[in-house]
């Protein structure tokens, strides 16, 4: 080989290798009483870091607005004013409540953001089961139809004294949407936001593939965080409701945190529901609703939803059988037997 052709080859190689290549950058933070991990694809570490920080700041602000336990949160103000007066709230708080009411309506109340008075009775750290009489006494306070939203004046009003909005079943999915929106405004085109198990993926990984999401086995056999299946996602959100997240077993009965708003007790018949949707807020809200509805009605709900927007579900029932909607049937890859 003469020197000239070799130099050309080397020059071409140098040119093809030059320029910044996109990498993924990841940061995690304990926020909103949970653990949040944001991964973004960027050709600059500084750009990625700044964008992630902005997303964290927005999530912290949102978390402060809807914190059920903080007396200063907007949500607490709404709850404290129940039966008294309407409360002015920020656009984010108004929107997440509005979406929660939409999910409640669509699911016929299987998801109900006014579940607060019942949730207060259960303590999954101390394994406390409430008295039946107390559950019965508080149950009439659970009714999403008694929430009044005034979009024009940005106010929320709970019509009965003692009502309590609890957005724990939907806020993390909405937060994932907010984080992705914030990252987009910072010029980030690809990434993945995981607000605990509420995940929203957008764009593609640096290797050009969709983001690969693991779905936890609801009955872990040995290894912690054992995966039952994986699913590749891009521009989609996924959320899972499971009876294994917060629970205790008393007299052979499993008491978990997904309450049936109609009874005030945990819903049975299902181990876990993973919902894939365009928006995190819907994936998060509807996974709870489908879980509460149980095998037959839950299946019908996901079929009905598909007429309004693309929604898919992977459901594992109490007997270990599974239901996978056609939209994700070819994508879902099983890891292990369960």
């Amino acid at each position: 080989m003469g020197i000239r052709p070799l130099l050309i080859v080397l020059l071409l190689l140098a040119v093809s290798c030059s320029g910044p290549k996109p990498h993924s950058y990841q940061k995690s933070k304990a926020l909103m009483d949970t653990f949040i991990t944001i991964t973004v694809v960027s050709d600059s570490e500084a750009t990625a870091g700044a964008a992630i920080e902005k997303a964290f700041v927005r999530l912290e602000q949102f978390g402060n607005m809807i914190n059920f336990f903080s007396p200063d949160s907007e949500l607490s103000m709404v709850n404290n004013n129940a039966g008294v007066a309407a409360t002015h709230v920020s656009p984010e708080t108004l929107e997440v409540i509005d979406k929660a009411l939409y999910v409640a309506e669509k699911s016929g109340g299987a998801f109900d953001p006014t579940i607060g008075p019942i949730m207060q009775l259960w303590d999954f750290h101390k394994n406390t089961k409430p008295e039946d009489a107390e559950v019965k006494r508080r149950l009439p306070l659970v009714n999403y139809r008694n929430v009044r939203i005034d979009r024009k004046h940005s106010t929320v009003f709970l019509t009965r004294k003692g009502m309590l909005l609890d957005l724990g079943g939907i806020a993390k999915g909405y937060a994932a949407d907010l984080a992705v929106e914030t990252l987009g405004k910072q010029g980030i085109r690809s990434g993945i936001v995981a607000v605990a198990g509420d995940i929203k993926a957008f764009g593609y990984r640096p290797d050009g593939k969709p983001w690969n999401i693991g779905i936890k086995n609801p009955r872990q056999k040995g290894e912690k965080d054992e995966i039952i299946a994986t699913i590749p996602l891009s521009d989609k959100a996924i959320s899972t409701a499971g009876d294994y997240e917060r629970f205790f077993i008393m007299n052979g009965q499993r008491y978990h945190h997904i309450m049936n708003p109609a009874t005030g007790y945990p819903a049975y018949g299902t181990r876990s529901v993973s919902v894939v949707a365009d928006k995190g807020v819907f994936a998060d809200g509807f996974d709870n609703a489908i879980f509460v509805l149980g095998p037959e009605k839950g299946r019908k709900l996901i079929e009905q939803l598909n007429r309004d927007f693309p929604a898919d579900a992977f459901i594992i029932y109490d007997n270990g059988s599974e239901y996978i909607t056609t939209g994700i049937n070819g994508l879902l890859k099983h890891e292990k037997e369960h």
Partner: protein, 128 residues
């Protein structure tokens, strides 16, 4: 040796130089793609506070927003041995050889075995 170098042309030498450069950069590229392992990274309120080798047994004592926290590393595993949070969930989690221990009230995060928690399985996140 000298004889063999003398017998090469400029093109051969340039090719040799290119191959050496490519090999060295390959090492760095591969290292970049692999997850960091063998490390324990402790973060307080989102900021890295301490990094230690997982193979060296030791106890790390740090101040968090809920008081002192003790992270113990032993036999290539780590745990939060002591924390002053109300529910003690982080302490109850026990030993972890690869994964994350989180204390939400204290905003303490312990990455065990590096940050690439799910990299072994090529997972980007886990739901559930």
């Amino acid at each position: 040796m000298k004889k063999s170098i003398k017998g090469t042309t400029i093109s051969d030498r340039l090719l040799l130089l290119f191959l050496i450069t490519a090999s060295i950069s390959g090492i760095f590229l591969a290292r970049d793609a692999l997850p960091e392992s063998g490390e324990v990274v402790i973060e307080l309120d989102g900021q890295p506070a301490f990094t230690a080798a997982l193979r060296e047994d030791r106890v790390i004592r740090l101040q968090s927003s809920v008081g002192p926290v003790e992270v113990e590393i032993k036999n290539s595993r780590a745990r939060i041995r002591e924390a002053h949070c109300p529910n003690q969930l982080c302490v109850k989690q026990g030993w972890v050889s690869r994964g994350i221990i989180v204390c939400l009230p204290g905003k303490i995060v312990v990455f065990v075995g590096g940050r690439g928690k799910h990299k072994k399985k090529d997972l980007d996140a886990v739901t559930g």
